[in-house]
């Protein structure tokens, strides 16, 4: 089971180390972790995707809450949150394959953000499934390099997490 946690933390030196250290020390598996500033400059928000059963989720949540610099932990369920990830994919191409790659990008509402004689860089935003799908389709052309941001997620509706 994978869970998405939205973790509000103090925007302070060492916070990322504390959080990451807790995960590794206690042997929890992180699938992805993103961190960035929020609407309030004194706080940062992390989106952490963690793997484990409900008991692991409960322990992870409690251990996170135990860190002094962690302000709030919210378990984002897929039914009441939206999530996005971005990937940049550098694909081999030549004159003949370029238009085909552009077509695929079009279908996924991805964008070509760099063009060179023998490669293009595709920027894609979406949920994990969408990114996996375009990756599959581009693979036959030869993916030279790929970078993914990891998931960010936010609660739907009025309430914030």
């Amino acid at each position: 089971m994978r869970h998405t946690l939205s973790v509000l933390v103090e925007n302070r030196y060492g916070v990322l180390t504390r959080v990451a250290g807790m995960f590794s020390r206690r042997g929890y598996n992180i699938d992805s972790l993103t961190v960035g500033v929020t609407e309030d400059p004194t706080m940062s928000r992390m989106t952490i995707v963690v793997r484990g059963d409900d008991q692991v989720l409960e322990q992870v949540t409690k251990q996170l809450n135990k860190l002094i610099d962690v302000i709030r932990v919210t378990d984002l369920k897929s039914e009441n949150s939206v999530e996005r990830e971005m990937a940049l994919i550098k694909v081999n191409c030549d004159v003949t394959s370029r238009s085909e790659i552009m077509q695929i990008a079009d279908i996924f509402r991805a964008r070509i953000i760099d063009v060179a004689s023998r490669s293009v860089v595709v920027e894609i935003t979406g949920d994990e499934g969408k990114i996996n799908a375009i990756e599959q389709l581009l693979r036959p052309f030869g993916i030279k390099e790929m970078v993914r941001t990891g998931k960010v997620a936010i609660r739907r509706g009025q309430k914030s997490s």
């Binding site: 008991q55 409690k62 002094i68 610099d69």
Partner: protein
């Protein structure tokens, strides 16, 4: 009302903050980056105990904290000074003891450059502190110190480290000490949820065979009186863990002794037969539970703990109650009804009679029986504070001393740190000069911090070190005897030191007892001397701690090692 501010250096502010926190004693060791602070300490109204190794400063601060319930304070220089503290910090973390640790650091401008005596002590101690700080601006220092003491002493207590670069201690600031802390990420729960408490009370009323399993949380929460009252009210026997020892009087008829690996048979039987286990401030450590699947498998479990993360960490709990043990026990007392049934207590009484702790007087005497020495110390000074090292002697102290009050048994539980006891006992004696303080020591453990004899003598701290000299790293030897065909690989330390001469070399009193009849007289001599004293008790060298539940076995699969010999 805002206080008038005053201009001062960071070093001066540091002292000022300690005054505001009511600190009367710190344990420390100087170094280059601490010069400004030590200059301010010179003539300050704070007792500074100069140890001989920084590890001892941390253990002594912990001993001070455990004896008083107040926050212990220690101080060390950057680099090696700071890294020498690590074991002591980890020890306090594992046993949840309030401590504030100050370290000097290289100047901010040199941080990260591998400067002389630079160590990233905040990085190193992140997993063994409740929280830590690197001070980046002297103006933050008062707030940070205020927060450090607050975090260390509230909720589940623990060590907090404050790392202070040298330039911070020289920087001039307008001193202002905040009277409140504002930590939006830290709000410990003290009052337990009443719904949960009522549910627990209902279970208690229905239960026929309840057992209370109390840990170090009872001591931290000062909940000993409440525990006694509650146990008597519901007629439940009480077992206390190693760190909970003293939280319930040993001679109370409801007392079961310690559970687990070297617990009493009857404590373990009672747990296994119970239909309701009420855990208070205890964390289901593997030394207590043995094989988890088989632990208290017939019982519903109520778990009272101030740390929500302890709930269902090791064992599935039926009714968790998060909060302060004292507060929750008071409530449970009012919501549960008084028990009239004697049946369970009678059954336990029967187990107690059939399976007491015991030892056999040796036929051929190759030394004194260690259990006998503990009994003699217990009789000679029943109000003493007993501090221990780690090993067999520690278990005998827990099994045979008749503790009557909280904060009279001080031992390294979670980390099991050899070398802890002697420096901790110095901290205890400094905090409680009115008390007789013993360090029950092994010949191995004592050698890990014996240099502190110099501290005890110089600072005139008359603790009594009772060395149980069996010539072995006895606890490891016991495992080798049982599980490795007596192949005593690297555990024999016979005749390596003359502890009497060692004591004398430091200017302490050195005594020795070779025979049982010499035990009481040397104890009396040590008590009368009023000096730091080392007693070398020559004990039976291959005596085992009994009973014993082998690691990983269910706690009712108990070996009687005394009978086998």
């Amino acid at each position: 009302m805002t206080e008038p501010t005053e201009k001062m250096t960071g070093a001066r502010a540091f002292i000022e903050c300690l005054y505001r926190e009511g600190v009367d004693t710190i344990f420390g060791y100087p170094g280059g980056v601490l010069l400004p602070i030590y200059d301010e300490l010179y003539g300050a109204n704070i007792r500074h105990i100069l140890v001989r190794h920084e590890q001892a400063a941390a253990h002594a601060a912990e001993g001070y904290a455990r004896a008083t319930g107040r926050t212990g304070v220690c101080l060390a220089t950057s680099g090696p000074g700071a890294t020498n503290l690590v074991t002591g910090i980890a020890n306090a973390y594992m046993d949840s003891i309030p401590m504030v640790v100050f370290t000097g650091q290289v100047p901010s401008s040199m941080l990260g450059n591998d400067a002389f005596q630079e160590a990233n002590i905040t990085g190193i101690t992140m997993p063994i502190t409740k929280h830590n700080y690197l001070v980046q601006d002297a103006r933050d220092l008062p707030r940070i110190i205020k927060e450090a003491f607050h975090i260390a002493s509230t909720g589940r207590p623990g060590p907090v480290l404050v790392d202070m670069p040298k330039d911070i201690t020289l920087q001039e600031i307008d001193f202002y000490y905040p009277d409140k802390v504002e930590l939006r990420g830290y709000k410990p729960t003290y009052k337990g949820n009443l719904q949960q408490i009522k549910k627990a009370a209902a279970l208690i009323d229905k239960s026929k065979n309840p057992v209370i399993y109390a840990g170090g949380g009872i001591i931290n929460s000062n909940a000993s009186a409440e525990l006694i009252e509650f146990a008597e009210h519901i007629k439940a026997p009480v077992t206390t863990t190693l760190t909970g020892m003293g939280g319930f009087p040993v001679e109370h008829p409801l007392f079961l002794g310690m559970p687990g690996m070297h617990g009493t048979k009857y404590a373990n039987y009672a747990i296994q037969e119970s239909d309701l286990l009420i855990a208070v401030g205890a964390r289901f450590d593997d030394r207590v539970t043995g094989k988890l699947k088989a632990f208290a498998s017939n019982a519903k479990i109520v778990h009272i703990d101030i740390d929500p993360a302890e709930i269902s960490k090791n064992i599935k709990v039926d009714i968790p109650i998060v909060g302060d043990a004292k507060w929750i026990l008071q409530k449970l007392l009012t919501y549960s009804s008084e028990s009239q049934s004697e049946k369970w207590i009678e059954r336990i009484g029967h187990w107690k009679k059939e399976n007491p702790l015991y030892y056999i007087e040796p036929i051929t005497c190759s030394g004194i029986k260690p259990q006998y020495i503990i009994e003699q110390i217990s009789q000679a000074c029943k109000d003493a504070i007993i501090v221990t090292e780690v090993g067999q002697h520690q278990m005998w102290a827990a099994q045979y001393f008749k503790f009557n009050e909280p904060r009279t048994f001080i031992t390294s539980g979670g980390l099991g740190t050899m070398g802890y006891g002697f420096p901790a006992s110095i901290g205890v004696k400094v905090a409680r000069p009115d008390k007789v303080v013993f360090d029950i020591a092994g010949d191995g453990s004592f050698q890990m911090n014996s240099q502190e004899l110099a501290t005890a003598v110089q600072e005139n701290v008359p603790v009594i070190v009772a060395i149980f000299n069996n010539g072995y790293l006895g606890m490891v030897r016991q495992w080798q005897e049982l599980f490795h065909e007596k192949r005593y690989s690297s555990t024999c330390i016979q005749n390596s030191v003359d502890f009497v001469k060692l004591a004398e070399a430091y200017g302490a009193l050195g005594l020795r007892a070779n025979k049982p009849e010499e035990v009481r007289p040397v104890i009396e001599q040590a008590l009368a001397s009023g000096r730091p004293t080392v007693i070398d008790f020559v004990v039976e060298c291959e005596e085992n701690v009994s009973p014993m539940v082998p690691a990983g076995a269910a706690i009712n699969e108990i070996l009687d090692l005394e009978r086998k010999k």
